[in-house]
Symmetry: C2
């Protein structure tokens, strides 16, 4: 007899292996049928993917890597232009705008939506958060809302988006993750993609700030 | 001195090489900076792409082919499952539903949107038409409207969609194209992807009906 307390596996998660989506993976693990990592040739893809693989294996969740190589070939962004192109300093618009991969979340959500429809799943999870709004237009609530409507209208399944971190900060996210006992040393954020987190790029600084603001010890080993 | 009557090249077109998008290519040629053909491993991709290449060269428009090979690998649809999987008969939901590539227009529009943002273009053309609504949820006006909003909200450029055929029929489209003198023998529709149009699959029938309903001679050579 099926345990009625067990939720249905109705969800697919867009899962990078970073801090935010790893937290969402653990929070929603009971409903997740498939985790999808998109490889768009970013400097830190290999490091992130190794982390994604680790957590999916640990939780027994199917993990799929989708290659979006056309992004590296035809799009403009410092995130795919090599480690030297990544700016240093705080996580502010002036620093980070060059790292924007145009409409990245739109592309990942669309492909995830088609995959969900193919597998009869009707819920796509994405871990965009409040701190990203200023810099990334495709992380904002108005984008998520319209995209959700498009996916709902454009599928037989009436696929919808769940983006539970849209209005909270990265500090809130690590606080939730710490309560779940997530090992954050097995997540990767640095936009430079080195062996260790560089500690100087804005993503490393944002990561460190999140632990600090959450009142937690940052378990990350930084280069400097 | 720049001729002020000449419109700005502000548009990118999603261009398959089929009858509908070829008509749109000719109608909007003065504003089109880039034509993008998506290869998702459909049975008729090679035939369509040869037609797309022909018209782009003729009009002097840059033509880009984007490989979406993850669709053939991971999605479910008879359109990518070989010629034998394509149903025969009229263009009705019962026949055509198996040919739906889940959220195909959502995926093509998202990638086109990111490309447009990369190239500082702010208008994406797509040739979805009224006859497709019943079968393809991602051809319907409510999908196009929501997706347009998502692209607008999710980009710095505020990219928008122009889908001028959303409310007209394929017969209306070929009537417009005939006025422009388009050579429709250089377009390809058959979902089977053979040397000649098969004349039996629903897409061939739809093509033939369009010319008939427009009061035009169908210039296509069919197998039977």
């Amino acid at each position: 007899m099926k345990n009625i307390a067990e939720p249905a596996k109705d969800s697919l998660i867009i899962y990078s292996g970073g801090l935010d989506s790893t937290t969402l993976l653990y929070e929603e693990r009971k409903r997740i049928s498939l985790a999808v990592t998109f490889d768009y040739g970013s400097n830190h893809a290999a490091r992130e993917m190794a982390c994604a693989k680790y957590h999916c294996e640990k939780l027994g969740i199917e993990h799929l890597i989708i290659d979006l190589n056309f992004i590296a070939k035809h799009f403009t962004s410092s995130l795919i232009a090599g480690a030297e192109a990544i700016p240093e300093g705080n996580y502010a618009e002036s620093n980070m705008r060059s790292t924007v991969v145009p409409f990245r979340n739109g592309i990942m959500l669309s492909v995830a939506c088609g995959l969900a429809e193919s597998r009869h799943l009707d819920r796509v999870l994405i871990a965009n958060h409040g701190g990203d709004h200023a810099i990334y237009p495709d992380c904002r609530p108005e984008f998520i809302r319209a995209m959700d409507e498009a996916m709902h209208a454009g599928t037989y399944q009436k696929v919808n988006i769940a983006a539970p971190y849209t209005h909270i900060t990265k500090a809130d996210i690590v606080r939730r993750g710490a309560e779940l006992g997530i090992d954050y040393t097995q997540t990767y954020s640095c936009y430079r993609g080195g062996e260790l987190h560089c500690g100087r790029c804005s993503t490393c600084r944002e990561r460190h700030e999140a632990f600090k603001n959450a009142g937690l010890t940052d378990p990350t080993t930084y280069e400097n």
